[in-house]
């Protein structure tokens, strides 16, 4: 392909207000808690919403859930799992550095009502998505059980924050290195066996959300999954975030991201999330190489 690289240099000029990182620290292997200035987002945010972030001025637009907002400080808190190029790049930033763009809050807020007893299941970094839902449900007067899981002890995030909400917290690790041994779905099944549950929320990897939906399906317990398709604009303009719910096409960024888990086509979601696998592999390998080089040089 013939490329006119001068195109990189055009900039439409409009001054972009950069977003200062007020605080950034690791909370587990590859997971970082990033507090960033975004006053308008903080002022309008409701549980369940996300932002679209660009790390620098040539960066990809990626969606990240707002885990918490502090309107008085004008900051929002993100938990970022470094799984690919953009998230890993973001996770190299520290306090005082900047994110180029933060747009939001996007998506429909979670439907928070007084349901009675609610279980919120967060797997891995999905716990960051689950956490604000837990807080909001507690605040609305529900009894809330929060199940959070990780591969092993270091992967468990937000445990103290979850406890501080007043929810009952169940921690699971796949390898049994901390809390209950086993998957979050096993802990969920245990609770369903002993208690009557009015609603379940799930956020995490696609296989986990699918498994949660299957656990609650037989008893017909209303279950909500927070879907994580690939997005571009996050405003309903591109349709890249299409998911199928009950046989209907929906745009996750504006119609969701939360949907009835019993109606979601999880196979489709899993497949569509793999669309750029080859590209991501190459870009990730480049990043590995450059960080190796940087490592040996220093």
């Amino acid at each position: 392909m013939l490329l006119s690289t001068a195109f990189w240099e055009w900039s439409v000029g409009a001054e972009v207000e950069m977003h200062r990182i007020a605080d950034a620290r690791d909370t587990g292997p590859g997971v970082r808690r990033v507090v960033v200035e975004a006053p308008h987002v903080a002022a309008h945010y409701q549980a369940g919403q996300f932002v679209i972030v660009r790390v620098d001025d040539v960066g990809e637009r990626i969606p990240l859930t707002v885990a918490a907002a502090d309107p008085s400080q004008g900051t929002i808190t993100l938990y970022v799992q470094g799984i690919g190029r953009t998230t890993r790049q973001l996770n190299t930033l520290g306090s005082g550095e900047y994110l180029h763009d933060v747009a939001g809050p996007l998506g429909k807020p979670s439907e928070i009502e007084r349901y009675g007893t609610a279980v919120v299941v967060g797997g891995g970094v999905g716990t960051a998505i689950a956490y604000p839902v837990v807080r909001a449900l507690v605040a609305a007067g529900n009894r809330v059980v929060a199940i959070t899981g990780g591969r092993s002890r270091e992967y468990v995030i937000l445990e103290d924050e979850l406890k501080a909400t007043g929810a009952d917290v169940v921690v699971c690790t796949d390898d049994g290195s901390y809390g209950k041994a086993g998957f979050v779905t096993e802990a969920l099944a245990d609770i369903l066996a002993t208690e009557s549950i009015n609603i379940v929320f799930a956020a995490g990897p696609v296989p986990m959300m699918r498994a949660v939906a299957e656990v609650t399906r037989p008893a017909g317990i209303p279950t909500v999954a927070s879907l994580n398709p690939i997005m571009v604009d996050g405003t309903g303009m591109c349709g890249g975030c299409r998911v199928e719910v009950g046989g209907e096409t929906k745009f996750a960024c504006v119609d969701g991201p939360e949907f009835d888990a019993h109606l979601v086509d999880f196979d489709l979601l899993a497949r569509r999330n793999q669309a750029y696998l080859d590209f991501e592999r190459v870009r990730n390998a480049e990043l590995d190489e450059s960080s190796c080089r940087a490592g040996t040089e220093s």
Partner: protein, 474 residues
């Protein structure tokens, strides 16, 4: 060339052709296809104008540019003066000269169109705009005294930019709120570089910034700011959020990997620059592959020609009517053909099929034209039993956009039409909410740059009146 031609001589002259990049070369490059007229070409072309007493061309231009006057000045070599004439009615001439569907507007109305050689008004407009841009020509020498009034403009497409441009020149403070990280609307995320270099859009926006317009990016009105908040801080609000809700086909398989809306495909390539080596944003690899594009408008041409430039080996445009009904600019259709794009008419999709969730083929239904529908175009209807299938590694759906409900859903009190567009007074652009004006695609549905720009300017004039008298008689 000092002696002007007689009318008779003028009628005999051929239209000056726009120099173009060679088709084989341009199919591999995002550089602009049209190279622009030279000074001599522009002057010769302008000399063909008959200087009609009642110039039909002006009636054909949606914003009524005094075409006869500016063309005469080009013929005389007074390009700066020509620019001033154009600038009175059109704030974005370098853009409109490139993208207006001239054959349906100014050039279509020119008396010489009957003889198939209308004055190349678009090319001349572009010439004038490019000339003065290169010379660093300043249109506005002095800014008026600030009025102390302020206006919020929502959306930075041509409607918003035009509205902002007029209001700032009247001394009002103007802030433009844009949902994306880059201003320009469809001009930057949709229309590709090879047709409208982004540097031109950037220059226009820098010009507005120099005049004092403030741009706030990543500001999704309805989310980042509510309309109510804008109304509390500003004296008026103009809504120019475009028609950015892509339609899909509504047939089985539309969510397979390999099916893009034109918006997504073009946004990944244009706004996110996925065509450059080293870009951070991926786009499905089309090199050596077969692409189909559904639709017959400019968006379809842009998607097809973009796929071609990304290395696709076979690119087909599948349109359910015939060439005659295609809404695309004629020049784009010709350019697409020259670049080897295949056109299949009278076919409609009935399904998309694939393996492991990845698109492999599209199923097609042969159509024929029946009775005219409400748009006046003959309605395509299926030919019983005539179906076929075409291999496709990528399908781009370019069958139009509906109104994006994101902002409107937050203001249920705003009156809308049954198409989900904002209901306004056509002359004043006033909506059902006092202090709120609207224009462009969010009012008309997907239309054209010049119409959006015109609507932005009409609304600006009407905002002036509102700021002056404060009377809201919708």
């Amino acid at each position: 060339m000092s002696e002007p031609f007689t009318k008779k001589e003028r009628m005999k002259l051929d239209r000056i052709e726009m120099p173009e990049r060679d088709a084989a070369e341009r199919a591999q490059s995002f550089d602009e296809v049209n190279l622009g007229l030279t000074a001599k070409m522009a002057q010769l072309e302008a000399m063909r104008c008959l200087e009609c007493k009642r110039p039909k061309c002006v009636d054909g231009c949606p914003v009524g540019i005094q075409i006869d006057e500016f063309v005469k000045l080009v013929a005389e070599g007074s390009i700066g003066a020509a620019a001033e004439i154009i600038q009175r009615d059109n704030l974005l001439p370098a853009i409109c000269g490139r993208v207006c569907p001239q054959e349906n507007q100014c050039e279509g109305a020119c008396v010489l169109a009957k003889r198939e050689r209308p004055i190349a008004i678009g090319h001349l407009e572009r010439y004038v705009a490019d000339y003065v841009r290169a010379e660093g020509f300043e249109y506005i020498k002095e800014l008026p005294v600030p009025t102390g009034k302020s206006v919020a403009v929502v959306g930075s497409g041509p409607a918003g930019l035009a509205c902002a441009g007029d209001l700032i020149q009247s001394g009002h403070a103007v802030t433009v709120f844009e949902a994306l990280h880059e201003p320009g609307g469809v001009l930057v995320y949709g229309i590709p570089e090879f047709r409208l270099p982004k540097e031109i859009v950037a220059t226009e926006i820098r010009g507005l910034e120099d005049l004092g317009v403030v741009f706030e990016m990543n500001a999704i009105v309805g989310r980042t700011h509510t309309l109510e908040e804008l109304l509390a801080v500003h004296d008026a609000v103009f809504i120019g959020v475009g028609a950015g809700l892509p339609r899909f086909l509504g047939v089985p398989g539309e969510n397979l990997i390999g099916v893009y809306s034109a918006n997504e495909f073009l946004t990944r390539v244009n706004l996110m620059k996925a065509y450059l080596a080293g870009a951070e944003t991926p786009v499905l690899d089309v090199a050596g592959k077969q692409i189909v594009v559904f639709g017959g408008g400019n968006t379809a041409m842009d998607a097809a020609r973009t796929a071609r430039r990304m290395g696709a080996s076979i690119v087909r445009i599948l349109y359910r009517r015939t060439e005659e009904e295609m809404p695309a600019r004629r020049e784009e259709v010709r350019h697409a053909r020259e670049e080897g794009i295949i056109f299949d008419f009278l076919v409609g999709p009935t399904g998309l099929t694939g393996e492991d969730g990845v698109l492999e083929a599209v199923e097609l239904q042969q159509m024929e034209l029946g009775e005219p529908d409400e748009s006046g175009r003959r309605r395509p209807q299926p030919v019983e039993g005539a179906t076929s299938s075409v291999t496709a590694d990528l399908a781009v759906v370019a069958i139009g956009n509906g109104a994006n409900p994101l902002l409107l859903a937050t203001v249920p009190e705003m009156e809308t039409t049954r198409w989900g567009t904002i209901a306004v007074d056509e002359v004043t652009g006033r909506t059902s909410m006092p202090g709120v004006f609207a224009g462009g695609d969010i009012v008309t549905g997907g239309a054209t740059v010049i119409l959006a720009m015109g609507a932005g300017r009409r609304a600006a004039a009407s905002i002036e009146t509102w700021l002056d008298d404060g009377v809201w008689a919708p």
